[in-house]
Symmetry: C2
Subunit: 321 residues, 2 copies
């Protein structure tokens, strides 16, 4: 597209971190004024590994990510981390992000950390997170790690963001973990049994490897199971975890699945963006625009049911452009 | 509206529980064939208390609900319980619902229990749950209890369903609870400090009462704080909990807030139904309809960005009806 490139976009392409942080906040807050920046950056986005790190609270995702970042820096790769928090749409702010941020070395320009609050809906979050990961790729980060903090729905949404999904578990799974497990199992490209120093870790790894073997299909990727332990120095399994992730990224290219998946994700993203636009526009108008207001009156009076009202609203929604 | 009343709707109005259960499943699965039933029932819906019971896992919501149900039966009220589970959109099924169901007396026709799986999005869930609560009201249940199982986002969504929101907490709040608390605090009409037998319960109650006092605004409802304990026989505070809920329901009528809130909820529901329709229709067409497919190709080729694509899709979306 032939549009003028906004200065913010140029700054981001030139590695200006403050411009990057500002644009990310605008995306997070769904500030429409960031649209030209997002547009301008899109053609500069390269396909980088976007690694989702999912799993319930308390399995040690943050420590794992700190060590993965360190490992990637050893390998000379620049890395950005996006932590997605299940904070309330009311209180907004990111609760766990700060704790994580402080554990990072502020003086390393090759690392960028950002936490994002999840605004109510998994779908909208995925769309926003995808825009942010693309901004980070355009800003020349070679790997993007996306951590989700303990909400099943948000974890699942990572599937629409990450090229490789790592699911972190611990030897003894409590009730809640069991609840999440089924869903998590289906998104995992790599399983990470963390706290491998705990009793039962080897059994958990074996069980998972077996489950994974049963689920394996010809030509498809068979999820890898890696054991890690972040407590000892040096920690265990971090290099293995990263190579399992790289193996999956290689599989995506060799199998042609990266292109298929990216197409599916972009389709999902477009649908979500349209849903968002429609929802935003309608929320503003439904109790203001005279026609809609009358319709709402009829629904309140129980003369028209909400489904019928929704049909009429959709039918009568003004076209754009 | 002058439409023929489907036999399923008649059966539900006449108290046929199997017809009711079937229709609820159809709503839960977003089966469009249930639309005529939903429509026919809408004009028969009465305003009954819809009590949301929210709070993190492990605070004892299920036991509280069992006791509230018993209390309501003592008072001669019929009651329906909807348990909303944070199950994954993949594995679908309701995990905790069954455990709860088994603890109920199957032979009491004045009680109806149903668990619903939350399909991915808090918004869609709220819309589906609202349709179900209206069906239950049309089926002559005098009180509807909605339990949400431990996902912050889902808890928050209860605000769009319940006329009275009860937030259940326990004396010593862990990290996760703290994370949810901010959001939960803002939806609570009644706070229930459960496990009041534990040390620190009285302090927790006092702290909450103080917080609530600070937040109190003139003319508005000041959330009530009730202590309960489900372990001793007889259990403690259940009657008090129910009267706090009834006080809030009375406030809704006296202040005229019931009407305002119901209007807001219906507006939100209509917006969500439109979003759903748009999303469903578009997901089906985006990689099939030639025009959309070409557009998606351009996005995949990074020649058009997703936001621009979304604008065009919305502009060109065919009108209905």
């Amino acid at each position: 597209m032939t549009r003028a490139v906004p200065s913010a976009a140029r700054a981001i392409l030139d590695g200006d971190r403050r411009a990057l942080a500002r644009a990310i906040s605008q995306v997070e807050n769904r500030d429409p004024s960031v649209a030209p920046v997002v547009r301008a950056l899109y053609s500069h986005v390269r396909n980088v590994p976007v690694v989702g790190i999912a799993g319930p609270l308390g399995v040690g995702k943050s420590s794992l990510i700190n060590l993965l970042v360190a490992r990637l820096r050893e390998l000379g790769r620049t890395v950005a981390v996006v932590a997605v928090d299940p904070s309330s749409p009311y209180s907004g702010g990111s609760v766990l992000g700060d704790r994580i941020r402080f554990s990072r070395r502020a003086d390393d320009g090759g690392v960028f950390f950002r936490s994002m609050a999840s605004r109510g809906e998994a779908g909208g979050l995925a769309a926003a997170t995808r825009e942010v990961t693309r901004m980070l790729a355009a800003a020349n980060f070679e790997v993007v790690l996306v951590e989700t903090v303990g909400s099943g729905q948000v974890d699942i949404a990572v599937r629409d963001v990450a090229t490789t999904s790592v699911v972190v578990l611990v030897p003894h799974l409590g009730d809640e973990v069991q609840t999440l497990k089924a869903g998590l199992f289906e998104i995992a490209d790599v399983f990470c049994v963390n706290k491998a120093d705990l009793p039962g870790a080897e059994l958990a790894r074996k069980d998972l490897a077996e489950l994974v073997g049963l689920a394996a299909a010809r030509g498809a990727w068979t999820p890898r199971v890696v054991s890690t332990s972040t407590f000892p120095t040096p920690p265990l399994g971090i290099a293995e975890l990263w190579s399992a992730i790289e193996d999956h990224e290689r599989f995506l290219d060799d199998s042609g699945q990266r292109a298929t998946e990216e197409r599916r994700r972009l389709a999902t993203e477009i649908v979500e963006l349209v849903r968002e636009r429609v929802g935003r526009e309608l929320s503003e108008r439904i109790d203001r625009a005279p026609g809609l207001r009358k319709l709402l009156d009829e629904v309140v009076a129980r003369r028209i049911d909400p489904r019928t009202a929704a049909e009429r609203v959709e039918r009568d929604r003004p076209r754009r452009g």
